[in-house]
Protein backbone atom coordinates (compact mmCIF):
# COMPACT_ATOMS: atom_id res chain seq x y z
CA UNK A 1 0.00 0.00 0.00
CA UNK A 2 1.39 3.43 -0.92
CA UNK A 3 2.10 5.90 1.86
CA UNK A 4 -0.65 8.53 2.17
CA UNK A 5 0.40 11.55 0.20
CA UNK A 6 1.17 14.63 2.25
CA UNK A 7 -1.98 16.68 2.73
CA UNK A 8 -1.80 20.43 2.21
CA UNK A 9 -2.29 22.45 5.41
CA UNK A 10 -5.59 23.89 4.23
CA UNK A 11 -7.22 20.50 4.68
CA UNK A 12 -6.06 20.07 8.27
CA UNK A 13 -8.96 20.72 10.66
CA UNK A 14 -7.20 20.38 14.01
CA UNK A 15 -3.45 20.59 14.31
CA UNK A 16 -1.99 19.77 17.70
CA UNK A 17 1.70 20.49 17.79
CA UNK A 18 4.20 19.65 20.52
CA UNK A 19 1.55 19.38 23.21
CA UNK A 20 2.83 18.90 26.73
CA UNK A 21 0.52 18.73 29.72
CA UNK A 22 2.10 18.58 33.11
CA UNK A 23 0.15 18.28 36.35
CA UNK A 24 1.97 19.44 39.45
CA UNK A 25 5.59 20.50 39.67
CA UNK A 26 8.95 19.21 40.80
CA UNK A 27 9.75 15.53 41.29
CA UNK A 28 6.09 14.59 41.75
CA UNK A 29 5.02 16.20 38.50
CA UNK A 30 2.94 14.04 36.21
CA UNK A 31 3.28 14.32 32.46
CA UNK A 32 -0.16 13.46 31.11
CA UNK A 33 0.91 14.38 27.59
CA UNK A 34 4.50 14.33 26.42
CA UNK A 35 5.20 16.15 23.18
CA UNK A 36 2.10 15.03 21.30
CA UNK A 37 1.61 16.10 17.70
CA UNK A 38 -1.34 15.01 15.60
CA UNK A 39 -2.93 16.59 12.56
CA UNK A 40 -6.59 15.76 12.07
CA UNK A 41 -7.95 16.27 8.58
CA UNK A 42 -11.23 17.84 7.56
CA UNK A 43 -14.27 15.55 7.39
CA UNK A 44 -12.29 12.77 8.96
CA UNK A 45 -13.43 10.21 11.52
CA UNK A 46 -10.34 10.32 13.70
CA UNK A 47 -9.92 8.11 16.76
CA UNK A 48 -7.66 8.53 19.76
CA UNK A 49 -7.15 4.98 21.00
CA UNK A 50 -5.37 3.80 24.09
CA UNK A 51 -5.74 2.25 27.52
CA UNK A 52 -7.12 4.37 30.35
CA UNK A 53 -4.58 6.87 31.60
CA UNK A 54 -2.81 7.16 28.25
CA UNK A 55 -3.74 10.85 27.89
CA UNK A 56 -6.37 10.53 25.17
CA UNK A 57 -9.11 12.21 27.19
CA UNK A 58 -6.73 14.96 28.33
CA UNK A 59 -5.94 15.70 24.68
CA UNK A 60 -9.65 15.78 23.84
CA UNK A 61 -10.40 18.11 26.75
CA UNK A 62 -7.62 20.36 25.49
CA UNK A 63 -9.15 20.58 22.04
CA UNK A 64 -12.50 21.38 23.70
CA UNK A 65 -10.88 24.02 25.91
CA UNK A 66 -11.44 22.45 29.33
CA UNK A 67 -7.70 22.08 29.84
CA UNK A 68 -4.87 24.27 28.66
CA UNK A 69 -1.59 22.83 27.39
CA UNK A 70 1.57 23.47 29.39
CA UNK A 71 3.42 23.72 26.07
CA UNK A 72 2.47 23.49 22.41
CA UNK A 73 -0.10 24.91 20.06
CA UNK A 74 -3.56 23.81 18.96
CA UNK A 75 -4.72 25.19 15.65
CA UNK A 76 -8.22 25.00 14.25
CA UNK A 77 -8.13 25.59 10.49
CA UNK A 78 -4.83 27.37 10.96
CA UNK A 79 -5.98 29.63 13.80
CA UNK A 80 -4.34 29.20 17.20
CA UNK A 81 -7.08 28.37 19.70
CA UNK A 82 -4.99 27.10 22.62
CA UNK A 83 -5.85 30.17 24.70
CA UNK A 84 -9.57 30.41 23.86
CA UNK A 85 -12.19 29.40 26.46
CA UNK A 86 -14.56 26.56 25.43
CA UNK A 87 -17.49 28.87 24.67
CA UNK A 88 -15.48 30.69 22.01
CA UNK A 89 -14.50 27.53 20.11
CA UNK A 90 -16.66 26.26 17.25
CA UNK A 91 -16.20 22.76 18.65
CA UNK A 92 -18.82 20.69 20.47
CA UNK A 93 -18.52 17.67 22.70
CA UNK A 94 -20.53 14.52 23.35
CA UNK A 95 -19.68 13.70 26.94
CA UNK A 96 -19.11 10.22 28.30
CA UNK A 97 -21.88 10.79 30.85
CA UNK A 98 -23.93 12.63 28.17
CA UNK A 99 -24.26 15.59 30.58
CA UNK A 100 -27.82 16.39 29.51
CA UNK A 101 -29.31 19.26 31.48
CA UNK A 102 -31.71 17.54 33.89
CA UNK A 103 -33.87 20.63 34.39
CA UNK A 104 -34.59 21.02 30.68
CA UNK A 105 -36.61 18.95 28.22
CA UNK A 106 -35.10 17.08 25.29
CA UNK A 107 -36.10 19.96 23.02
CA UNK A 108 -34.60 22.60 25.32
CA UNK A 109 -31.38 20.61 25.58
CA UNK A 110 -30.95 20.53 21.82
CA UNK A 111 -31.87 24.23 21.53
CA UNK A 112 -29.41 25.34 24.25
CA UNK A 113 -26.37 25.95 22.05
CA UNK A 114 -28.43 27.74 19.41
CA UNK A 115 -29.98 30.05 22.01
CA UNK A 116 -26.52 30.85 23.34
CA UNK A 117 -25.40 31.70 19.81
CA UNK A 118 -28.34 34.09 19.60
CA UNK A 119 -30.18 32.42 16.73
CA UNK A 120 -33.66 33.70 15.85
CA UNK A 121 -36.58 31.75 17.33
CA UNK A 122 -37.88 30.41 14.05
CA UNK A 123 -34.44 29.29 12.96
CA UNK A 124 -33.91 27.50 16.28
CA UNK A 125 -37.23 25.66 15.95
CA UNK A 126 -36.41 24.49 12.45
CA UNK A 127 -32.91 23.39 13.40
CA UNK A 128 -33.98 21.52 16.55
CA UNK A 129 -36.69 19.71 14.56
CA UNK A 130 -34.11 18.76 11.95
CA UNK A 131 -31.67 17.47 14.57
CA UNK A 132 -34.30 15.49 16.48
CA UNK A 133 -35.27 13.90 13.17
CA UNK A 134 -31.65 13.01 12.46
CA UNK A 135 -31.44 11.07 15.72
CA UNK A 136 -35.03 9.72 15.56
CA UNK A 137 -36.17 11.52 18.70
CA UNK A 138 -38.99 13.73 17.33
CA UNK A 139 -41.65 11.99 19.41
CA UNK A 140 -39.88 12.54 22.72
CA UNK A 141 -39.08 16.25 22.29
CA UNK A 142 -41.10 17.31 25.33
CA UNK A 143 -39.82 14.57 27.63
CA UNK A 144 -37.65 15.39 30.59
CA UNK A 145 -34.18 13.92 30.27
CA UNK A 146 -34.69 11.62 33.26
CA UNK A 147 -37.61 10.01 31.45
CA UNK A 148 -35.61 8.59 28.55
CA UNK A 149 -33.39 5.53 28.25
CA UNK A 150 -29.60 5.48 28.02
CA UNK A 151 -29.65 4.95 24.26
CA UNK A 152 -32.08 7.84 23.82
CA UNK A 153 -30.00 10.09 26.08
CA UNK A 154 -27.04 9.26 23.87
CA UNK A 155 -28.97 10.39 20.80
CA UNK A 156 -30.07 13.63 22.46
CA UNK A 157 -26.48 14.36 23.48
CA UNK A 158 -25.46 13.84 19.87
CA UNK A 159 -28.25 16.05 18.52
CA UNK A 160 -27.39 18.78 21.03
CA UNK A 161 -23.73 18.74 20.04
CA UNK A 162 -24.44 18.65 16.30
CA UNK A 163 -27.15 21.34 16.31
CA UNK A 164 -24.83 24.36 16.18
CA UNK A 165 -23.05 22.72 13.21
CA UNK A 166 -19.62 22.76 14.84
CA UNK A 167 -16.48 22.50 12.73
CA UNK A 168 -15.32 19.62 14.88
CA UNK A 169 -17.28 17.19 17.05
CA UNK A 170 -15.51 15.59 20.00
CA UNK A 171 -16.81 12.28 21.33
CA UNK A 172 -15.51 11.10 24.69
CA UNK A 173 -16.16 7.33 24.89
CA UNK A 174 -19.81 7.99 24.08
CA UNK A 175 -20.74 4.35 23.59
CA UNK A 176 -19.16 2.86 26.71
CA UNK A 177 -22.37 3.00 28.75
CA UNK A 178 -24.49 1.16 26.18
CA UNK A 179 -25.02 -2.59 25.99
CA UNK A 180 -23.41 -4.62 23.21
CA UNK A 181 -26.26 -4.60 20.64
CA UNK A 182 -27.06 -0.92 21.09
CA UNK A 183 -23.38 -0.10 20.86
CA UNK A 184 -23.10 -1.88 17.51
CA UNK A 185 -26.16 0.02 16.23
CA UNK A 186 -24.81 3.35 17.41
CA UNK A 187 -21.44 2.69 15.77
CA UNK A 188 -23.17 2.47 12.42
CA UNK A 189 -25.40 5.47 13.25
CA UNK A 190 -22.40 7.58 14.19
CA UNK A 191 -20.65 6.69 10.96
CA UNK A 192 -23.80 7.64 9.02
CA UNK A 193 -24.14 10.99 10.80
CA UNK A 194 -20.50 11.78 10.22
CA UNK A 195 -20.80 11.25 6.48
CA UNK A 196 -24.19 13.05 6.32
CA UNK A 197 -23.06 16.14 8.20
CA UNK A 198 -19.50 16.25 6.85
CA UNK A 199 -18.23 17.30 10.27
CA UNK A 200 -14.81 16.24 11.52
CA UNK A 201 -15.29 13.68 14.30
CA UNK A 202 -12.63 13.13 16.95
CA UNK A 203 -13.51 10.01 18.84
CA UNK A 204 -11.92 8.77 22.05
CA UNK A 205 -12.10 5.10 22.97
CA UNK A 206 -10.18 2.32 24.66
CA UNK A 207 -12.04 -0.27 22.59
CA UNK A 208 -9.75 -1.32 19.74
CA UNK A 209 -12.53 -3.10 17.86
CA UNK A 210 -14.67 0.05 17.93
CA UNK A 211 -11.69 2.06 16.70
CA UNK A 212 -10.96 -0.32 13.82
CA UNK A 213 -14.55 -0.49 12.56
CA UNK A 214 -15.38 3.22 12.73
CA UNK A 215 -12.28 5.25 12.04
CA UNK A 216 -10.74 6.73 8.92
CA UNK A 217 -7.53 7.09 10.89
CA UNK A 218 -6.43 6.11 14.38
CA UNK A 219 -3.81 7.52 16.73
CA UNK A 220 -2.65 4.87 19.19
CA UNK A 221 -1.57 6.43 22.48
CA UNK A 222 0.24 5.11 25.52
CA UNK A 223 1.65 6.87 28.56
CA UNK A 224 1.08 10.36 27.20
CA UNK A 225 2.62 9.72 23.80
CA UNK A 226 1.32 9.01 20.31
CA UNK A 227 2.92 5.77 19.13
CA UNK A 228 1.42 5.46 15.68
CA UNK A 229 -1.05 7.29 13.45
CA UNK A 230 -2.58 5.53 10.50
CA UNK A 231 -5.57 3.91 8.88
CA UNK A 232 -7.08 0.91 10.68
CA UNK A 233 -5.35 -1.23 8.05
CA UNK A 234 -1.94 0.36 8.81
CA UNK A 235 -2.36 0.03 12.53
CA UNK A 236 -3.46 -3.57 12.40
CA UNK A 237 -1.17 -4.93 9.72
CA UNK A 238 1.88 -2.73 10.18
CA UNK A 239 2.13 -2.01 13.88
CA UNK A 240 5.10 0.25 14.44
CA UNK A 241 5.84 -0.86 17.96
CA UNK A 242 5.33 -3.78 20.27
CA UNK A 243 2.70 -1.89 22.28
CA UNK A 244 0.60 -1.19 19.18
CA UNK A 245 0.82 -4.79 18.01
CA UNK A 246 -0.12 -6.03 21.44
CA UNK A 247 -2.92 -3.54 22.09
CA UNK A 248 -4.68 -3.90 18.74
CA UNK A 249 -6.06 -7.37 18.20
CA UNK A 250 -4.19 -10.50 19.16
CA UNK A 251 -0.64 -11.13 18.08
CA UNK A 252 2.06 -13.77 18.30
CA UNK A 253 5.52 -12.50 19.16
CA UNK A 254 8.45 -14.68 18.08
CA UNK A 255 12.05 -13.95 18.94
CA UNK A 256 14.14 -14.52 15.84
CA UNK A 257 17.62 -13.91 14.52
CA UNK A 258 18.28 -11.56 11.57
CA UNK A 259 19.93 -13.35 8.69
CA UNK A 260 19.95 -10.65 6.05
CA UNK A 261 18.01 -7.91 4.30
CA UNK A 262 17.24 -7.98 0.60
CA UNK A 263 15.25 -5.27 -1.21
CA UNK A 264 13.56 -4.17 1.98
CA UNK A 265 12.58 -7.70 3.00
CA UNK A 266 14.24 -9.40 5.92
CA UNK A 267 15.28 -13.01 6.20
CA UNK A 268 14.91 -14.19 9.76
CA UNK A 269 15.63 -17.49 11.47
CA UNK A 270 12.79 -18.71 13.69
CA UNK A 271 13.46 -20.51 16.98
CA UNK A 272 12.75 -23.76 15.18
CA UNK A 273 15.76 -23.09 12.94
CA UNK A 274 13.67 -22.47 9.83
CA UNK A 275 14.23 -19.27 7.84
CA UNK A 276 11.31 -17.16 6.56
CA UNK A 277 10.85 -13.74 4.96
CA UNK A 278 9.45 -10.90 7.01
CA UNK A 279 8.53 -7.35 6.05
CA UNK A 280 10.39 -4.40 7.52
CA UNK A 281 9.38 -0.87 8.32
CA UNK A 282 10.90 1.48 5.76
CA UNK A 283 14.44 2.52 6.64
CA UNK A 284 14.64 0.12 9.56
CA UNK A 285 17.76 -2.08 9.36
CA UNK A 286 18.04 -4.21 12.47
CA UNK A 287 20.78 -6.76 13.10
CA UNK A 288 21.18 -9.59 15.56
CA UNK A 289 18.08 -10.41 17.59
CA UNK A 290 14.68 -9.20 16.42
CA UNK A 291 11.04 -9.72 17.29
CA UNK A 292 8.75 -10.99 14.56
CA UNK A 293 4.98 -10.64 14.80
CA UNK A 294 2.38 -12.86 13.16
CA UNK A 295 -1.38 -12.33 13.47
CA UNK A 296 -3.21 -15.53 14.53
CA UNK A 297 -5.37 -15.53 11.39
CA UNK A 298 -2.27 -15.46 9.17
CA UNK A 299 -1.09 -18.84 10.40
CA UNK A 300 -2.48 -22.27 9.73
CA UNK A 301 -2.37 -25.45 11.74
CA UNK A 302 -1.03 -28.43 9.77
CA UNK A 303 -0.73 -32.08 10.78
CA UNK A 304 2.68 -32.62 9.26
CA UNK A 305 5.57 -30.25 8.57
CA UNK A 306 5.15 -26.51 9.17
CA UNK A 307 7.67 -23.84 10.08
CA UNK A 308 6.98 -24.23 13.78
CA UNK A 309 5.88 -27.24 15.76
CA UNK A 310 4.41 -27.90 19.15
CA UNK A 311 1.63 -29.47 21.18
CA UNK A 312 -1.97 -28.24 21.28
CA UNK A 313 -2.48 -26.78 24.71
CA UNK A 314 -5.95 -25.32 24.55
CA UNK A 315 -8.82 -24.94 22.07
CA UNK A 316 -11.22 -22.03 22.54
CA UNK A 317 -14.44 -21.90 20.53
CA UNK A 318 -15.72 -18.41 19.57
CA UNK A 319 -18.69 -19.14 17.33
CA UNK A 320 -17.33 -17.70 14.10
CA UNK A 321 -13.84 -18.99 14.70
CA UNK A 322 -11.71 -21.16 16.96
CA UNK A 323 -8.48 -20.16 18.71
CA UNK A 324 -5.91 -22.93 19.00
CA UNK A 325 -3.12 -22.33 21.48
CA UNK A 326 -0.02 -24.31 20.60
CA UNK A 327 2.83 -24.71 23.07
CA UNK A 328 5.92 -24.46 20.84
CA UNK A 329 8.84 -26.81 21.32
CA UNK A 330 10.96 -23.77 22.21
CA UNK A 331 8.69 -22.85 25.08
CA UNK A 332 6.49 -19.91 24.03
CA UNK A 333 2.83 -20.22 23.09
CA UNK A 334 1.55 -19.51 19.59
CA UNK A 335 -2.10 -18.87 18.77
CA UNK A 336 -3.75 -19.84 15.50
CA UNK A 337 -7.18 -18.52 14.58
CA UNK A 338 -9.16 -20.78 12.36
CA UNK A 339 -12.49 -20.00 10.68
CA UNK A 340 -15.21 -22.43 11.70
CA UNK A 341 -17.26 -24.30 9.18
CA UNK A 342 -20.38 -26.36 9.66
CA UNK A 343 -18.97 -29.57 8.29
CA UNK A 344 -15.81 -30.10 10.24
CA UNK A 345 -14.29 -29.56 13.65
CA UNK A 346 -10.98 -27.71 14.05
CA UNK A 347 -9.10 -30.89 13.25
CA UNK A 348 -7.07 -31.32 16.39
CA UNK A 349 -7.57 -32.01 20.05
CA UNK A 350 -5.63 -31.02 23.15
CA UNK A 351 -2.33 -32.91 23.43
CA UNK A 352 -1.90 -33.49 19.66
CA UNK A 353 1.43 -32.72 18.03
CA UNK A 354 0.88 -30.20 15.24
CA UNK A 355 2.81 -27.96 12.90
CA UNK A 356 2.19 -24.29 12.12
CA UNK A 357 2.42 -22.75 8.68
CA UNK A 358 2.89 -18.99 8.47
CA UNK A 359 1.32 -17.41 5.39
CA UNK A 360 3.74 -15.74 2.97
CA UNK A 361 4.13 -11.98 3.68
CA UNK A 362 2.41 -12.39 7.06
CA UNK A 363 5.45 -12.04 9.29
CA UNK A 364 6.79 -8.63 10.18
CA UNK A 365 9.91 -7.51 11.99
CA UNK A 366 8.92 -5.25 14.86
CA UNK A 367 10.70 -2.03 15.68
CA UNK A 368 11.71 -2.46 19.30
Amino acid sequence: MPEPSPVPDARIAVDCHGIVKQFGEGPRALRALDNVSVAIRENEFFTLLGPSGCGKTTLLRMIAGFEYPTEGTIRLHGEDIAGLPPFKRPINTVFQSYALFPHLTVWENVAFGLQMLGWAKGKIEARVAEMLKLVHMEELAQRRTDQISGGQAQRVALARALAPAPKVLLLDEPLSALDYKLRKEMQIELKRMQSETGITFIFVTHDQEEALTMSDRIAVMSKGRVLQVGTPWDIYDKPAERFVADFIGETNFLSAAMVGIEEGVARVRLPSGIEISASLAEGYRPAGEATVVVRPEHARMVTTGGQLSGVVENIVYFGTDTHIHVKLDQGSTFMVRQQNSRSKSCGASVGDRVGIDIAPDAAQVLRD
Binding site: F87, N92, P102, H103
Partner: protein
Protein backbone atom coordinates in the same frame (compact mmCIF):
# COMPACT_ATOMS: atom_id res chain seq x y z
CA UNK B 1 -33.02 -17.85 57.39
CA UNK B 2 -31.51 -18.64 60.74
CA UNK B 3 -31.94 -16.05 63.41
CA UNK B 4 -28.68 -14.12 63.81
CA UNK B 5 -27.14 -14.41 67.24
CA UNK B 6 -26.56 -10.70 67.58
CA UNK B 7 -29.01 -8.15 66.24
CA UNK B 8 -28.25 -4.51 66.84
CA UNK B 9 -31.96 -3.70 66.64
CA UNK B 10 -32.89 -5.99 69.52
CA UNK B 11 -31.15 -4.80 72.67
CA UNK B 12 -32.29 -5.12 76.27
CA UNK B 13 -33.76 -1.87 77.54
CA UNK B 14 -33.81 -0.30 74.08
CA UNK B 15 -37.55 0.33 74.20
CA UNK B 16 -37.44 1.81 77.67
CA UNK B 17 -34.62 4.21 76.84
CA UNK B 18 -36.38 5.30 73.65
CA UNK B 19 -39.66 5.84 75.45
CA UNK B 20 -38.01 7.83 78.23
CA UNK B 21 -36.09 10.00 75.75
CA UNK B 22 -39.16 10.78 73.69
CA UNK B 23 -41.16 11.54 76.81
CA UNK B 24 -38.49 13.94 78.05
CA UNK B 25 -38.45 15.66 74.69
CA UNK B 26 -42.10 15.93 73.88
CA UNK B 27 -44.09 15.86 77.15
CA UNK B 28 -43.01 19.38 78.22
CA UNK B 29 -43.79 20.70 74.75
CA UNK B 30 -47.15 18.94 74.71
CA UNK B 31 -47.98 20.40 78.14
CA UNK B 32 -47.00 23.86 76.95
CA UNK B 33 -49.23 23.59 73.89
CA UNK B 34 -52.17 22.16 75.86
CA UNK B 35 -52.05 25.01 78.38
CA UNK B 36 -52.06 27.53 75.57
CA UNK B 37 -55.75 26.60 75.29
CA UNK B 38 -56.38 27.05 79.04
CA UNK B 39 -59.28 29.33 79.86
CA UNK B 40 -57.88 30.24 83.29
CA UNK B 41 -54.90 32.45 84.18
CA UNK B 42 -52.89 29.56 85.51
CA UNK B 43 -50.03 27.67 83.90
CA UNK B 44 -50.74 24.59 85.99
CA UNK B 45 -54.45 24.21 86.72
CA UNK B 46 -56.85 23.52 83.86
CA UNK B 47 -59.82 25.87 83.57
CA UNK B 48 -61.44 24.60 80.38
CA UNK B 49 -60.73 25.00 76.67
CA UNK B 50 -60.45 28.46 75.18
CA UNK B 51 -58.71 30.38 72.39
CA UNK B 52 -58.68 33.39 74.70
CA UNK B 53 -54.89 33.59 75.08
CA UNK B 54 -54.32 33.42 71.34
CA UNK B 55 -56.56 36.46 70.85
CA UNK B 56 -54.88 38.15 73.79
CA UNK B 57 -51.41 37.56 72.29
CA UNK B 58 -52.52 38.62 68.82
CA UNK B 59 -53.94 41.89 70.14
CA UNK B 60 -50.94 42.65 72.36
CA UNK B 61 -49.08 45.52 70.69
CA UNK B 62 -45.76 44.43 72.22
CA UNK B 63 -46.16 40.91 70.82
CA UNK B 64 -47.14 42.27 67.42
CA UNK B 65 -44.11 44.55 67.35
CA UNK B 66 -41.76 41.81 68.49
CA UNK B 67 -43.15 39.32 65.96
CA UNK B 68 -42.87 41.87 63.16
CA UNK B 69 -39.31 42.74 64.18
CA UNK B 70 -38.35 39.04 64.34
CA UNK B 71 -39.74 38.53 60.86
CA UNK B 72 -37.91 41.54 59.38
CA UNK B 73 -34.65 40.45 60.96
CA UNK B 74 -35.06 36.80 59.94
CA UNK B 75 -35.97 37.60 56.32
CA UNK B 76 -33.18 40.16 55.89
CA UNK B 77 -30.54 38.10 57.68
CA UNK B 78 -31.49 34.86 55.92
CA UNK B 79 -31.46 36.60 52.52
CA UNK B 80 -28.05 38.18 53.04
CA UNK B 81 -26.63 35.02 54.62
CA UNK B 82 -27.89 32.92 51.69
CA UNK B 83 -26.33 35.23 49.13
CA UNK B 84 -23.02 35.24 50.99
CA UNK B 85 -23.17 31.48 51.53
CA UNK B 86 -23.92 30.84 47.85
CA UNK B 87 -20.93 32.90 46.81
CA UNK B 88 -18.75 31.19 49.40
CA UNK B 89 -19.95 27.75 48.28
CA UNK B 90 -19.23 28.55 44.63
CA UNK B 91 -15.80 29.85 45.53
CA UNK B 92 -14.92 26.77 47.54
CA UNK B 93 -16.30 24.10 45.18
CA UNK B 94 -15.70 25.49 41.70
CA UNK B 95 -11.95 25.89 41.90
CA UNK B 96 -9.32 23.19 41.58
CA UNK B 97 -8.17 22.16 45.07
CA UNK B 98 -5.37 24.34 46.41
CA UNK B 99 -3.47 24.43 49.70
CA UNK B 100 -5.52 26.29 52.27
CA UNK B 101 -8.90 25.21 50.90
CA UNK B 102 -9.74 23.00 53.88
CA UNK B 103 -8.67 25.84 56.14
CA UNK B 104 -11.22 27.98 54.34
CA UNK B 105 -13.96 25.38 54.91
CA UNK B 106 -13.12 25.37 58.61
CA UNK B 107 -13.06 29.16 58.71
CA UNK B 108 -16.52 29.43 57.14
CA UNK B 109 -17.94 26.85 59.54
CA UNK B 110 -16.13 28.12 62.64
CA UNK B 111 -19.10 30.16 63.91
CA UNK B 112 -20.89 26.83 64.46
CA UNK B 113 -18.26 25.96 67.05
CA UNK B 114 -17.72 29.32 68.74
CA UNK B 115 -19.91 29.43 71.89
CA UNK B 116 -22.77 31.78 71.13
CA UNK B 117 -22.26 33.72 74.31
CA UNK B 118 -18.71 34.58 73.19
CA UNK B 119 -19.97 35.95 69.88
CA UNK B 120 -22.70 37.82 71.74
CA UNK B 121 -20.34 39.53 74.15
CA UNK B 122 -17.89 40.35 71.36
CA UNK B 123 -20.64 41.89 69.23
CA UNK B 124 -21.99 43.83 72.21
CA UNK B 125 -18.60 45.44 72.79
CA UNK B 126 -17.95 46.24 69.12
CA UNK B 127 -21.45 47.54 68.42
CA UNK B 128 -21.39 49.69 71.53
CA UNK B 129 -18.38 51.51 70.08
CA UNK B 130 -19.92 51.74 66.63
CA UNK B 131 -23.14 53.14 68.10
CA UNK B 132 -21.17 55.91 69.76
CA UNK B 133 -19.27 56.76 66.58
CA UNK B 134 -22.19 56.70 64.19
CA UNK B 135 -25.12 57.55 66.42
CA UNK B 136 -27.11 54.90 64.55
CA UNK B 137 -29.02 52.48 66.77
CA UNK B 138 -31.56 50.86 64.45
CA UNK B 139 -32.26 47.23 63.58
CA UNK B 140 -29.16 47.10 61.38
CA UNK B 141 -27.02 45.72 64.18
CA UNK B 142 -29.37 42.83 64.85
CA UNK B 143 -29.64 42.07 61.12
CA UNK B 144 -25.87 42.13 60.69
CA UNK B 145 -25.30 39.93 63.73
CA UNK B 146 -27.91 37.42 62.60
CA UNK B 147 -26.51 37.38 59.06
CA UNK B 148 -23.08 36.55 60.45
CA UNK B 149 -24.12 33.52 62.48
CA UNK B 150 -26.58 32.31 59.82
CA UNK B 151 -23.97 32.05 57.04
CA UNK B 152 -22.59 28.61 58.02
CA UNK B 153 -26.10 27.20 58.29
CA UNK B 154 -26.96 28.43 54.81
CA UNK B 155 -23.55 27.35 53.50
CA UNK B 156 -23.83 23.67 54.41
CA UNK B 157 -26.78 22.59 52.20
CA UNK B 158 -25.67 24.83 49.32
CA UNK B 159 -22.15 23.41 49.32
CA UNK B 160 -23.49 19.85 49.59
CA UNK B 161 -25.69 20.47 46.56
CA UNK B 162 -22.83 21.99 44.54
CA UNK B 163 -20.54 19.10 45.39
CA UNK B 164 -23.19 16.59 44.39
CA UNK B 165 -23.76 18.30 41.05
CA UNK B 166 -22.26 16.68 37.97
CA UNK B 167 -19.67 19.25 36.88
CA UNK B 168 -19.77 18.03 33.31
CA UNK B 169 -23.15 19.84 33.09
CA UNK B 170 -21.42 23.19 33.51
CA UNK B 171 -18.72 22.08 31.10
CA UNK B 172 -21.39 21.08 28.59
CA UNK B 173 -22.98 24.52 28.84
CA UNK B 174 -19.64 26.21 28.27
CA UNK B 175 -19.03 23.86 25.37
CA UNK B 176 -22.39 25.00 23.91
CA UNK B 177 -21.25 28.63 23.74
CA UNK B 178 -22.52 29.80 27.14
CA UNK B 179 -20.18 32.41 28.65
CA UNK B 180 -19.53 32.00 32.41
CA UNK B 181 -22.43 34.22 33.51
CA UNK B 182 -24.89 32.31 31.30
CA UNK B 183 -23.53 28.98 32.57
CA UNK B 184 -24.32 30.16 36.08
CA UNK B 185 -27.74 31.57 35.22
CA UNK B 186 -28.94 28.80 32.91
CA UNK B 187 -27.41 25.70 34.49
CA UNK B 188 -25.76 26.14 37.89
CA UNK B 189 -28.42 28.32 39.49
CA UNK B 190 -31.49 26.27 38.44
CA UNK B 191 -29.82 23.07 39.62
CA UNK B 192 -28.69 24.75 42.82
CA UNK B 193 -32.15 26.12 43.67
CA UNK B 194 -33.20 23.36 46.10
CA UNK B 195 -29.94 23.85 48.00
CA UNK B 196 -30.43 27.62 48.11
CA UNK B 197 -34.02 27.29 49.35
CA UNK B 198 -32.92 24.78 52.00
CA UNK B 199 -30.09 27.06 53.08
CA UNK B 200 -32.41 30.06 53.27
CA UNK B 201 -35.00 28.25 55.36
CA UNK B 202 -32.42 26.85 57.73
CA UNK B 203 -30.95 30.34 58.19
CA UNK B 204 -34.47 31.78 58.61
CA UNK B 205 -35.40 29.34 61.37
CA UNK B 206 -32.06 29.78 63.14
CA UNK B 207 -32.45 33.57 63.09
CA UNK B 208 -36.08 33.46 64.22
CA UNK B 209 -35.12 31.28 67.15
CA UNK B 210 -32.09 33.17 68.42
CA UNK B 211 -32.10 34.48 71.99
CA UNK B 212 -28.56 34.92 73.23
CA UNK B 213 -27.09 37.15 70.52
CA UNK B 214 -30.32 39.13 70.11
CA UNK B 215 -30.51 39.76 73.85
CA UNK B 216 -26.99 41.19 73.87
CA UNK B 217 -27.09 43.16 70.65
CA UNK B 218 -30.58 44.70 70.77
CA UNK B 219 -31.04 48.31 71.80
CA UNK B 220 -33.91 49.40 74.02
CA UNK B 221 -37.34 48.66 72.51
CA UNK B 222 -35.92 46.20 70.00
CA UNK B 223 -37.33 43.00 71.44
CA UNK B 224 -37.63 40.08 69.08
CA UNK B 225 -40.22 37.43 69.82
CA UNK B 226 -37.82 35.16 71.74
CA UNK B 227 -36.34 38.01 73.81
CA UNK B 228 -39.85 39.31 74.50
CA UNK B 229 -40.87 35.88 75.76
CA UNK B 230 -37.79 35.68 77.93
CA UNK B 231 -38.63 39.10 79.34
CA UNK B 232 -42.21 38.05 80.08
CA UNK B 233 -41.05 35.01 82.03
CA UNK B 234 -39.38 37.36 84.52
CA UNK B 235 -42.71 38.99 85.25
CA UNK B 236 -46.22 37.67 85.81
CA UNK B 237 -46.59 34.63 83.59
CA UNK B 238 -49.91 33.88 81.91
CA UNK B 239 -50.84 31.27 79.30
CA UNK B 240 -50.34 34.06 76.75
CA UNK B 241 -46.71 32.96 76.63
CA UNK B 242 -47.88 29.40 75.91
CA UNK B 243 -50.00 30.69 73.05
CA UNK B 244 -47.07 32.61 71.53
CA UNK B 245 -44.82 29.58 71.97
CA UNK B 246 -47.41 27.29 70.35
CA UNK B 247 -47.79 29.60 67.34
CA UNK B 248 -44.01 29.81 67.07
CA UNK B 249 -43.73 26.04 67.19
CA UNK B 250 -46.25 25.60 64.39
CA UNK B 251 -44.38 28.08 62.20
CA UNK B 252 -41.03 26.35 62.77
CA UNK B 253 -42.40 22.87 62.18
CA UNK B 254 -44.14 24.07 59.02
CA UNK B 255 -40.90 25.56 57.69
CA UNK B 256 -38.83 22.49 58.48
CA UNK B 257 -41.44 20.28 56.82
CA UNK B 258 -41.33 22.36 53.66
CA UNK B 259 -37.52 22.23 53.83
CA UNK B 260 -37.66 18.44 54.11
CA UNK B 261 -39.91 18.05 51.07
CA UNK B 262 -37.87 20.43 48.95
CA UNK B 263 -34.72 18.50 49.81
CA UNK B 264 -36.30 15.15 49.07
CA UNK B 265 -37.58 16.25 45.69
CA UNK B 266 -34.90 16.12 42.98
CA UNK B 267 -32.22 15.32 45.51
Amino acid sequence: MAKPRFDIRVQPGFGTVALFTFAMLYLPIATLVVYAFNASDSLSSWGGFSLHWFYEAAENQAVQDAAWRSLIIAVSAATMATIAATMAALATTRTPPYPGLSFKYAFINLPLMVPEIVTAVALLIVFAKVKVWTGYSGLGYLILAHTAFCIPFAYLPIRARLEGMDQSLERAAADLYAPPWQVFRRVTLPLLRPGIIAGFMLAFVISLDDVVISEFVKSGGQDTLPTYMLGQLRRAVTPEINAIAAAFLVLSVALVTVFFFINRKKA
